[in-house]
Symmetry: C2
Subunit: 610 residues, 2 copies
């Protein structure tokens, strides 16, 4: 085959030939720096999501024009090559899906291509490019794993334990971490493990006494709402004996073991109290209270892994100082043991509110839930079956869909059209669980399915709130075992919650399950409000739906990618996101550590400060 | 196909047809209880190894006569059925190898068949049958994994943590373990994890402060001599970032994490001081010193997992009380730090002796090795490449040979002929490493390759001693950096070791790297010498080679199988054996716990008391 021979296969060719031909054509156009030709290979409505492979950013460009812009800015420095199918492409409903690998000037990547026919030609509908390793900095795994024992004899060599001790003694004292990760939950730990593997000097600090306490200290009935297949951390998967929905203390123990096994550099009992950036030195100065001792760290990069939920939000109501019972935010709720026989009022009707109401009821408290606005509820079983089952389940595993593959499938669906994939899933749930929803509505519960009926996952991405994954407590509301009232809280008296319609709810304990503010609140506290404002709102897509104001962003705001604040990064999310996106954040930090050029294309403008 | 139609395929048929036909014929003979026909399907020289599927024992029968005896005793109660190929059989050098599953009256099994042509018919040359689960008692894994969260609401239910705490408070106090495992190294931990999974109330006790201390407390340069692929524990594999030869402290940390993650019921700081069996109650009474408190346990079964190496053996030499320096067995050697610039004499020339000599030399001690008898040495690289590479390596993994599969391949090679497979491997090593061996011989080192040149693994199985896996220290002996002398130690003076030829070796520290006695020494200490004698020697095959007196046993003496002492079991071995054989030991205990009949065929007679 010569260079000039057309490679695009005929449309009745098998999926393999079609995908192979498109990739070959595309590579030829890229190699020839023929940006017009390359962008014309995309459908009029199309999406290229690039995860640090071309753009050193997480971004999604749209349509041939967007592709043209991306390539114009990045093609020369990226030098993509070697686009190669890694498994037989498939065809379903007119869409050919193909998995491929490729190289860039500095690394190796993995991609997913979806082809559709437009005007008799195969064009890309969706295109995902992700970088998964840097050349010359491959991770020491599998065939590259370390030898451990150093065979041969040499004078005065040190053991693994001696090197670990020596690192531990010097880190943060005579040596500085290049990256400081604030927060040692699943996000910080996953990132810490990846940075350790990549040889980037790092430190994860956390205020709790032990790794895993982030989970242990939460209300005692808490179990993960996501199933095990969705929750693996990098490198070390849960054994197949692991429960589907792990109890919080078991996850806590796992995280603690993980820190040990993966040698994550980790300080417990360490709270950052102040951080300032110096333009002159190109370093952060971070004051840390470590077990009561003041330690100053000077990392080059600062990562907030303090939870995508941000800081606890308690509405400003009168009488918090007057109320004689216990009052706390859901994140500080100790569990039901102290409230047997007491009157509990839980403000809110999302996940935490339901979990806490259920546990209080089980422990013979008298429980009232105050619903302030409508809530989206899905049954856990239905979410598992219809929402996650194709990607994260025993069924998926049996079909060859590993966690790693599922993550890339998920990543390959452009946020812009993700709701279109989601709506039918929730239509199905509304149908199969009709009785369940009818019971809730008869009890007066305000239900919704998201602004566009796209359900739970879109709510999670857009606003990170507004839903409950039902594991049983919804029936307590439907049956009236948990009393349901509606309204806004205006004040507390000595022994009651007063709503805006004047109703008084007698209470011995009040729980504000009222959610969290944007993550940049942590930045305001630790750095300063100006820096937090410059960073802007975190999370959300700019969908123009409730609590997710536009304009459209294309990606989650500020997450795992360069921000408007130099050398400051935001990391977080559920276990799936902590696992998957920690790879790309770690590679961005590794590249900077090694002095590899990382020209960031189209740093996202900031539209909202909180 | 009718019952009378012959099923044995022609010999030029593909491997698949030949294996399928043999299995179908064999199953038909079994179903018809036609023991003559079934035994005639074995070659005149052939081996059936059964691991608890037919015999509730670990045993190997030989030739058609052995098969006839086994079937006559076990066929009716076993009721085997459903012999089904699980993957395409292969043919190599005239041998067809086939993997199959089968059922028995009480469980499900996995087998490996090797067919050869004898007189124009396919006959079994080797046949392995193993039980891997009990019907109705399948492990809660994968699709059967526990749910974790209990969806729905019920009053006063307990959390995972509350149940764990409650179990921990009651176990050994108000509730008794059905199985007590003495020793919490890899063997005890692996067995404890399996028993937990199988729902058998168990307890592992260990005298050290923390799980993993069995490794941590050993000499500081110690790394595993076996590579990572060989060393996985059940359920939770090392991540692919794990070093090939893990340093002892890292393994220690892994074991500690493993105990937490797998919820192994484990007491640290707990030493059994006395055990007595009561025929009347059918229970052991075991006195345990738990953190200084005397606790009495009453388990039904007692498992010694105190190390296949048994108790440290120190030769009876005069002057141990006269010597002014440090003197200790290799198992108590603290590492080289205290001996910089000192004169060290290490008695012995096996693994520990070499490791300790190497580390002492690296720390600038003046080191002398006393070789008492010849030693088999193989270079670690060569052992990996030629000895283990086909089964336990990245290469094996890439070829689809998982750890579980490799374990069964290994188990399918009859001990009687295992040396025949081993001899060519060591011939190869002798050839490729000729320079290495020449250097050692020139230095006067006494080398051997085992009585029949079958090398390391046979020495390990026959006597558990007599070799060094070279990781570098052999060159120190070859170069004279570590001084080599030969002889037997007769006595110590105040400052020297005196050999039988009168030579005096000045010494500040003397290390007896003189090996271990049989495991039943632990039984003598904890129970009584009479019981230890009744149990008899542990380990070894009865090969009639050095330190492994005949008669031929067919299996490792007393390991993982019923012994002459009721309700007493021996567990141990390297990480590979701890992993694999803990399954069969756990199933034997589970069956007894559930009251499933376990008629033991041909309990091995005891020929040697130590």
């Amino acid at each position: 085959m010569t260079d000039t021979e057309p490679r695009t296969a005929t449309l009745d060719a098998p999926a393999h030939a079609r995908a192979e031909a498109w990739l070959a054509d595309f590579e030829e156009a890229l190699t020839a720096h023929d940006i017009d030709r390359a962008s014309a290979m995309f459908a009029p409505t199309s999406f290229w999501r690039d995860v640090i492979a071309f753009s050193w950013n997480l971004l999604t460009v749209e349509d041939p024009d967007g592709v043209r812009d991306l390539l114009a800015a990045t093609l020369a420095s990226t030098a993509p090559a070697g686009l190669t199918l890694t498994e037989p492409p498939t065809e379903d409903g007119g869409v050919v899906t193909a998995w491929f690998t490729f190289e860039t000037a500095v690394g190796r990547g993995t991609g997913v291509l979806r082809l559709i026919e437009v005007d008799g030609r195969d064009r890309a509908w969706t295109f995902l490019t992700t970088l998964h390793e840097l050349k010359g900095h491959e991770e020491p795994r599998g065939t590259r794993r370390p030898k451990g024992a150093e065979h041969g004899s040499s004078k005065n060599r040190s053991t693994w334990m001696e090197r670990r001790r020596s690192e531990s003694v010097s880190l943060g004292r005579t040596t500085q971490p290049y990256v400081l990760v604030i927060g040692g939950g699943q996000g910080g730990i996953a990132l810490g493990a990846r940075l350790r593997q990549l040889g980037v000097p790092s430190l994860v600090i956390d205020k709790h006494p032990r790794p895993g306490d982030q989970w242990r200290r939460r209300y005692k009935s808490l179990c993960l709402h996501d199933p095990v297949w969705y929750d693996h951390l990098p490198y070390l998967k849960f054994p197949d004996t692991w429960p589907v929905f792990a109890p919080k203390d078991k996850i806590g123990d796992w995280l603690e073991s993980y820190v040990s096994v993966m040698e994550v550099p980790y300080w417990s009992n360490a709270e950052a109290t102040r951080a300032t950036w110096s333009e002159e030195t190109g370093e952060w100065t971070v004051e840390v209270d470590k077990d009561g001792e003041a330690v100053v760290l000077r990392p080059t990069h600062l990562v907030f892994a303090t939870g995508m939920s941000g800081k606890a939000r308690v509405p400003e109501v009168e009488g918090l100082d007057v109320f004689r019972g216990d009052v706390h935010h859901s994140s500080d709720h100790p569990g039901p043991d102290a409230y047997r026989g007491k009157r509990a009022v839980v403000i809110g009707s999302n996940n935490s509110a339901f979990d806490i109401c259920g546990a209080l009821w089980e422990n013979d408290a008298d429980v009232t839930m105050v619903q302030r606005s409508s809530t989206h509820i899905v049954r856990s079983e239905s979410l598992m079956e219809y929402g996650l089952g194709d990607l994260y389940s025993e069924r998926a595993l049996a079909a060859g869909v590993t966690t790693e593959k599922a993550d890339l499938v998920f990543a390959s669906l452009p946020y812009r059209i993700l709701h279109e994939f989601q709506i039918p899933i929730y239509e199905k749930m509304a149908q199969v669980d009709k009785d369940f929803y009818d019971r809730l509505e008869r009890a007066g519960f305000w239900l919704d399915w998201g602004d566009d009926d796209s359900g739970l996952f879109m709510k999670y991405l857009r606003r990170g709130s507004g839903y409950y994954i039902d594991v049983g407590a919804a029936d307590l509301v439907a049956s009236g075992d948990v009393r349901l009232v509606h309204g806004q809280v205006t004040r507390l008296t000595e022994d009651a919650v007063v709503l805006d319609d004047g109703v008084e709810l007698p209470a011995d304990v009040v729980v504000f399950a009222t959610g969290y503010s944007s993550m940049n609140g942590w930045v305001a506290d630790l750095v300063d409000p100006e820096t937090a404002a410059r960073l802007g709102k975190c999370w959300g897509l700019g969908s123009g739906t409730t609590k997710d104001p536009g304009p459209w962003e294309g990606e989650l705001r500020n997450m795992w990618k360069p921000t408007a604040v130099d050398n400051l990064w935001m990391h977080g999310g559920n276990l799936h996101q902590s696992r998957h996106y920690s790879l790309y954040l770690a590679l961005q930090l590794k590249a900077r550590f090694e002095g590899i050029k990382t020209p960031v294309h189209r740093l996202a403008p900031v539209h909202h400060t909180e």
